[in-house]
């Protein structure tokens, strides 16, 4: 086994992945900002969760777009939290809708967004693993 340095996550197909993350960061954060600003009292838990998801997407984008071990750790953490988040919120919303009166990005495993929120962290983790130093 030859030693190999980490490949930058922003190279090659990683560019496409970052583009998708950036679009989700923009869409989720913007939507949450509007919801919190205009009708926060209607569904505070859902809107705070939307905002949290937006921040996770932003951190994942920053982590993946950067270079170096610090950014890579950030990407691992953000994409990992994203996967846990979409699985947890997805499961809760499938079992019981009363706690979530309004949609978030992660509701029903991201069905409202073509299940991209479910697939994206899996691809993200795979890409981080593939480009790591070994």
């Amino acid at each position: 086994m030859s030693e190999r340095a980490a490949t930058p996550t922003s190279s090659g197909p990683g560019r496409v992945l970052i583009a998708v993350y950036a679009i989700f960061a923009l869409a989720a954060t913007a939507r949450a900002a509007v919801q919190i600003a205009t009708k926060f009292s209607e569904a505070p838990v859902a809107y705070l969760l939307s905002a949290f998801a937006g921040v996770v997407y932003i951190l994942a984008t920053i982590g993946l777009a950067g270079t170096g071990p610090g950014r890579r750790r950030l990407a691992w953490a953000a994409v990992g939290i994203e996967l846990v988040g979409v699985l947890a919120v997805g499961t809760i919303t499938v079992l019981d809708t009363t706690d979530f009166p309004d949609d978030t990005v992660w509701s029903l495993y991201g069905r409202g967004y073509g299940f991209v929120p479910l697939v994206l962290p899996l691809i993200g983790l795979w890409w981080l693993r593939r480009t790591r130093a070994r």
């Binding site: 090659g12 560019r15 496409v16 583009a19 923009l26 869409a27 939507r31």
Partner: protein, 123 residues
């Protein structure tokens, strides 16, 4: 918004996405024609956004989710130029076209959401 223009925008973003993917499959870097393509689609988006913003802010149309609508309007304009910039700075040739395709698809989805929000206001 204008129904016909929305359909033109769908077709334009769709064509741009296909073109970007073809470039990626061919392994060719986004060149001048990709820039021209993005420029044409972007011009359509700006015209659409200007008309929609004028109608909403001018008071002619009341939308149930005006804030969301206006933000999506801004998103629909911003994604392609940023995507193109990100695509052409990609040092290895192959993946720039795919980045343009992702930006085009994202823009198409934003326009679709815009059309939905608009339809909710004009019932």
């Amino acid at each position: 918004m204008i129904g016909a223009l929305v359909i033109v925008v769908y077709v334009a973003t769709g064509l741009l996405a296909v073109y970007g993917l073809v470039r990626a499959v061919q392994g060719r870097h986004p060149g001048r024609d990709t820039r021209v393509g993005v420029g044409i689609v972007e011009a359509l988006l700006v015209v659409q956004a200007a008309i929609a913003a004028f109608r909403v802010l001018g008071g002619g149309t009341a939308l149930p989710e005006q804030g969301t609508f206006l933000i999506y309007l801004v998103v629909s304009i911003c994604v392609l130029p940023i995507g193109l910039q990100f695509a052409v700075t990609e040092p290895t040739t192959r993946w720039g076209g795919a980045v343009v395709a992702v930006a085009a698809i994202g823009t198409g989805v934003a326009v679709w959401r815009l059309a939905e929000l608009w339809a909710a206001g004009s019932v």
